[in-house]
C-alpha cells in the first residue's frame, strides 16, 4: 500500500502530475485503437457521417462479413504471416551469431566491423539504388526477397552485442573448459542467458515485419504476394472511388471506412496475441546467482 504520510508536499504534487500525464498518454495511445474498433463495428452510414466517437453506432458485423468473404484478404493475411515468421527467423539467424562475433574480444578487426555495422545505421544507399540492387539480384516480386532483404538490422545487432558483452567472461571460459566450442558456447550458454534481449529483438522484428508496408509495396507487384498492409492500402484506394461499391454499401450497411477499420483491427489482433507470450521473457535478473562479483 502506498503510504502518503511518507511523502512531502512536493513529492505528492509530483506524483499527482506524473499520474495525470501517464493517464493522458495512456488515453492518447488507446483512443485511436478503440476508435478504429468502434468504427469497424458501426454501420457504414454512421461512420461516413462521422458520428462515431467512442462506442459503435448502429452496431453491425457487416464490414467483417465483407472482408472475410474476400479471398484476397486471406491470401494477404497468409503472406503477412509468412513474411513475419520467415523474416523474424531469418533476422535472428543473422543477428544472433553476428552480435556474438562482434562481442568477442578475440575477433580480429573487431573495431572495424563494429564501425562498419554502425555506419549503416546513419548512412544507406537510399531508395533507388536499393531497388536497382534488388532488381539485379532477381529479387523483385519475390517472397524470399522480402524475407532476405531486411534480415540484418544494425540497431538490433548492436543491442544484442551490448547484452552479450555484459555477460561475465567466466561463463564463456567455464564452458570452454567444459569442452564447448564457439557454437556451443553461443547456443548453450549465451542464448539461454540472453532470453530477455532476444525476446526484445524478436518483438522488434515481428512488429516491423508485420507492419512492413513501404518496401513490400515497392518490391512486390503480384497480388498473391502482397502482405496485409499493402492489401489494406489497395482496399482504401479502390473502395474510396468505386461507384459500384458505393451502390452496394448503401444496402449492405458498411462503407469504405468501416471495411478499412475492420482490416486494421484484423491486422492488429495477431500482434496483441503474440505480445503476452513474448513478454514473459522480459523478466529481469536471469544472471542472478550464476556468478558472484
Amino acid at each position: 500500500m502506498l503510504n502518503w504520510n511518507l511523502y512531502s508536499r512536493g513529492d505528492k504534487f509530483f506524483a499527482i502530475v506524473v499520474s495525470v500525464m501517464i493517464g493522458m498518454f495512456t488515453a492518447a495511445t488507446l483512443y485511436p485503437f478503440i476508435y478504429i474498433a468502434a468504427v469497424s463495428f458501426s454501420s457504414g452510414f454512421a461512420a461516413q457521417a462521422g458520428k462515431v466517437v467512442l462506442p459503435p453506432i448502429d452496431a453491425t458485423l457487416e464490414a467483417y462479413g465483407y472482408i472475410i468473404g474476400d479471398p484476397k484478404f486471406w491470401i494477404s493475411y497468409r503472406n503477412t504471416f509468412i513474411y513475419t515468421i520467415g523474416g523474424t527467423l531469418m533476422s535472428l539467424a543473422f543477428i544472433i551469431p553476428g552480435a556474438y562475433a562482434l562481442s568477442r574480444p578475440q575477433l580480429k578487426g573487431r573495431r572495424f566491423f563494429n564501425l562498419f555495422i554502425a555506419f549503416t545505421m546513419w548512412f544507406n544507399a537510399g531508395l533507388i539504388p536499393f531497388f536497382l540492387n534488388m532488381r539485379d539480384l532477381n529479387l523483385l516480386d519475390s517472397m524470399f526477397g522480402i524475407i532476405l532483404a531486411f534480415a540484418v538490422n544494425a540497431f538490433n545487432i548492436i543491442l544484442l552485442r551490448n547484452f552479450f558483452e555484459a555477460i561475465p567472461r567466466s561463463f564463456e571460459e567455464a564452458a570452454r573448459m567444459d569442452g564447448a566450442n564457439d557454437f556451443q558456447v553461443l547456443w548453450k550458454v549465451f542464448i539461454p542467458l540472453s532470453k530477455p534481449a532476444i525476446a526484445t529483438i524478436t518483438l522488434f522484428c515481428i512488429v516491423s515485419r508485420w507492419n512492413g508496408f513501404f518496401w513490400a509495396m515497392v518490391l512486390l507487384q503480384s497480388e498473391d504476394k502482397i502482405p496485409l498492409q499493402v492489401f489494406l492500402r489497395h482496399t482504401i484506394a479502390t473502395l474510396s472511388d468505386n461507384d459500384e461499391f458505393a451502390i452496394v454499401q448503401t444496402d449492405a450497411g458498411f462503407s469504405a471506412e468501416t471495411v478499412t477499420a475492420a482490416i486494421i483491427v484484423c491486422s492488429i489482433i495477431p500482434v496483441l496475441i503474440v505480445y503476452p507470450f513474448i513478454q514473459k521473457y522480459f523478466e529481469k535478473g536471469i544472471l542472478l546467482g550464476g556468478v558472484k562479483e
Binding site: M177, D178, G289
Partner: protein, 358 residues
C-alpha cells in the same frame, strides 16, 4: 593423474611483460599453491595452464605432452572459478552434466557420475535447484562438482574461496583438502591468502611481480624464507623486520645487542635486516636469549593468545603471547626476549637471506 611442467613461461600483453619466466614442476597428485599479492601474475600463470591465455614464450606440458597450442577443452584440466561461473539457467545436476553432455558421455553414465559426485559434495538434495537458490558455500560446491565429474588430469583453482565469509572459508578449505586426499588429482591452487596456502599446500610457490620468489613446503618457507618478501608474506602476523648492523658478537638493532647463532666471520659492520617471528618472542628470558626493551602500544586479545603491538626504537613490532585466559598481565610488559637460534638475517641491500658460518 599427471604432472605439470612449466619451463621459462613468459606472458606479455603487447609491450607489457607480466610474467617473467616461470619454471615449475608440479608432481603427479601434488597440491601446489601459487600465492602472492594482487597483480603478481599468479592468476595469469594459472590461466595459461588452463589455456585461457596464450603463452608468449616458454613451454607448458601436462602429463609429458606439450600443451602450448592445445585448446582448453583438449588439455584435460578442469577449473574452479573465483566467481563460480555456474550457468544460471541450469539446475545443479545440469550444471554438473554440462561438460559431460558436450563430451557425449552416455546418459546413464552421466546420471551415475552426477549422483556419486553429489554424494561426495553433499549436494544430493539440491540437484534440482538453480544456482540462485543456493547459498554461497553450496554454489562453491557445485563449481567443484562440475570440475570433479569430468575426472580431469589436473584441477585448477582460481581463488575459489575468496567470495565466502570467514567461517565458510575455513570449512570449505578443509573440504578441498579432504577432497584432494580422497581423489588424489594433481591440483594447482591460486590464492592471495597465506593461511589457505599454508593449510592446503604440499608445496607453496610464492610469487611477486611476475617472478617466483621461493618454492617449498609450507614449513620450509615458514622456517627458511629466502628473502624478506617471503618472510613478510607468510605467517600471520608477518615476520618483524628491523634494520641493524652485524657486530663481532652478534647484531645491533635499535641500540641493543642481540646474540646470534653462528659465527660472524668477518661480516662485522655489514648492514642487515633482522627478522623476528612474532611467535618466537618470549616474555621470560630463556637459554641464549637477548632482551629487547619495548614500549607497549596495544594488546589485541585473540582468545588463547594475544597480539602485542609495541615500539622498539624507531620500529613497530608485533609479538604473540599466550594469555592463559586473561590479558591483564600483558599490559605491563616492558621487555621481550628473542632466542638466538630463531633470529633470521637478511642482506639490507638485496633482501636475500644470510647464512652465518658454523
Amino acid at each position: 593423474m599427471a604432472g605439470v611442467s612449466l619451463r621459462s613461461i613468459i606472458k606479455r600483453y603487447g609491450a607489457l611483460q607480466v610474467v617473467h619466466g616461470i619454471d615449475l614442476e608440479v608432481a603427479e597428485q601434488e597440491f601446489v599453491v601459487l600465492v602472492g599479492p594482487s597483480g603478481c601474475g599468479k592468476s595469469t600463470t594459472l590461466r595459461m595452464i588452463a589455456g585461457l591465455e596464450d603463452i608468449s614464450e616458454g613451454e607448458l606440458s601436462i602429463d609429458g605432452r606439450f600443451m602450448n597450442r592445445v585448446a582448453p577443452k583438449d588439455r584435460d584440466v578442469a577449473m574452479v572459478f573465483q566467481n563460480y561461473a555456474l550457468y544460471p539457467h541450469l539446475n545443479v545436476a545440469d550444471n554438473m552434466a554440462f561438460g559431460l553432455r558436450i563430451r557425449r558421455m552416455p546418459k546413464d553414465q552421466i546420471a551415475t557420475t552426477i549422483s556419486e559426485t553429489a554424494e561426495i559434495l553433499g549436494l544430493t538434495d539440491y540437484l534440482d535447484r538453480r544456482p540462485a537458490d543456493l547459498s554461497g558455500g553450496q554454489r562453491q560446491r557445485v563449481a567443484m562438482g562440475r570440475a570433479i565429474v569430468r575426472h580431469p588430469k589436473v584441477f585448477l583453482f582460481d581463488e575459489p574461496l575468496s567470495n565466502l565469509d570467514a567461517k565458510l572459508r575455513t570449512q570449505m578449505r578443509a573440504e578441498i583438502k579432504r577432497l584432494h586426499n580422497r581423489l588424489g588429482v594433481t591440483s594447482i591452487y591460486v590464492t592471495h591468502d597465506q593461511v589457505e596456502a599454508m593449510t592446503l599446500a604440499d608445496r607453496i610457490v610464492v610469487m611477486n611481480d611476475g617472478r617466483i620468489e621461493q618454492v617449498g613446503t609450507p614449513m620450509e618457507l615458514f622456517n627458511n624464507p629466502v628473502n624478506t618478501f617471503v618472510a613478510g608474506f607468510l605467517g600471520s602476523p608477518p615476520m618483524n623486520q628491523v634494520k641493524g648492523v652485524l657486530t663481532e658478537t652478534g647484531a645491533r638493532i635499535g641500540g641493543m645487542d642481540v646474540s646470534l647463532n653462528g659465527a660472524i666471520n668477518g661480516h662485522a659492520g655489514r648492514d642487515v635486516i633482522v627478522g623476528i617471528r612474532p611467535e618466537h618472542v618470549m616474555l621470560e628470558p630463556g637459554d641464549a636469549t637477548s632482551s629487547l626493551p619495548i614500549e607497549l602500544d596495544l594488546v589485541e586479545p585473540l582468545g588463547s593468545e594475544a597480539l602485542l603491538h609495541a615500539r622498539f626504537g624507531q620500529d613497530n613490532m608485533v609479538f604473540k603471547a599466550d594469555t592463559n585466559g586473561e590479558i591483564a598481565h600483558l599490559s605491563g610488559v616492558k621487555q621481550v626476549h628473542v632466542p638466538a637460534d630463531l633470529i633470521k638475517l637478511f642482506d639490507a641491500e638485496t633482501g636475500r637471506a644470510l647464512e652465518l658460518g658454523a
